[in-house]
């Protein structure tokens, strides 16, 4: 009964950090460091990272709505301290919900690092699933809160 659909989407996020590119890069390339901010263990979450071209990353955890989400990435291009390119799939339960290409770039600035993250994704078969829209509503409220708390708009 699933309505088959695809939706392509792209977004870019820019951040500035008061740390040199090598340090920011290390937070992405070192498994223990990345686990701390990317997959903070909120009980029963599973995180693994094999950081090399062709290597895989896994992050699986239960969302507040009770569903188990699985993120699986494969690293496609790595330039130490400069850029990371990877593809990843996201599953909700046993259902594949998206496939993405992510590019992370690190650029030295006078006082630290400018990080640019871009994601190009195809979101699958979600047209008939109302719960995603509800998640979207909550996310909208959350992002409003963070938008109000920062200068980015």
């Amino acid at each position: 009964m699933t309505t088959r659909s695809t939706a392509l989407a792209t977004f870019v996020i820019d951040r500035h950090y008061d740390a040199p590119p090598d340090e920011v890069y290390a937070a992405w390339s070192t498994p223990t460091a990345k686990a701390r901010w990317f997959a903070p263990g909120d009980g029963g979450s599973d995180y693994r990272l094999d950081f090399r071209v062709g290597g895989h990353e896994l992050n699986r955890g239960r969302a507040p709505d009770g569903d188990v989400y699985t993120y699986e990435a494969t690293y496609s291009d790595i330039v130490a301290g400069r850029r990371i390119v990877y593809t990843y799939t996201m599953d909700r339960g046993d259902t594949r919900i998206s496939v993405s290409l992510a590019t992370v770039e690190f650029e030295a600035t006078g006082s630290g690092t400018r990080l640019t993250l871009s994601e190009q994704g195809v979101f699958l078969d979600e047209g008939d699933k109302l719960e995603f829209r509800e998640v979207g509503t909550r996310a909208l409220l959350d992002s409003l809160a963070s938008a109000l708390g920062s200068t980015s708009g």
């Binding site: 996020i13 951040r15 993250l117 994601e119 829209r133 979207g136 996310a139 909208l140």
Partner: protein
């Protein structure tokens, strides 16, 4: 490629108010009558109606009148699947990148105790 940012701006503006956010949160549980929405709010009915008007203008909420009861609901199209997805994914990243910032700050504090605020 999808560009809903103008619409998003209008919605963020509509949601830039605590009362309207609480109305939207309530409607997230399901449709409700105006009086149901007004009950927990410490304000007059006209004030509540004014907030609902802003939410309706932004496209987030629609209402229908049956007899004397006006029922409000979240407008699913306002949060079309793709937009919901992008928002969700983007917000997930914003949160993670905030945590990355906190992690980097910790690292630096450990190394440089005399860090300026």
């Amino acid at each position: 490629m999808v560009n809903h940012y103008a619409d998003l701006d209008a919605r963020f503006q509509a949601l830039s108010d605590t009362t309207r956010r609480s109305i939207v949160e309530r409607l997230g549980l399901g449709p409700a009558s105006v009086s149901d929405l007004a009950r927990p709010l410490a304000m007059s009915l006209p004030a509540v109606l004014q907030h609902l008007r802003v939410l309706e203008d932004s496209g987030l909420v629609t209402s229908t009148k049956a007899g004397r009861v006006r029922t409000c609901r979240l407008e699913p199209k306002a949060l079309a699947a793709t937009e919901g997805w992008i928002t969700e994914r983007r917000v997930g990243w914003e949160r993670r990148l905030d945590r990355l910032g906190a992690y980097l700050d910790d690292q630096q504090t450990n190394r440089q105790p005399k860090r300026h605020p």
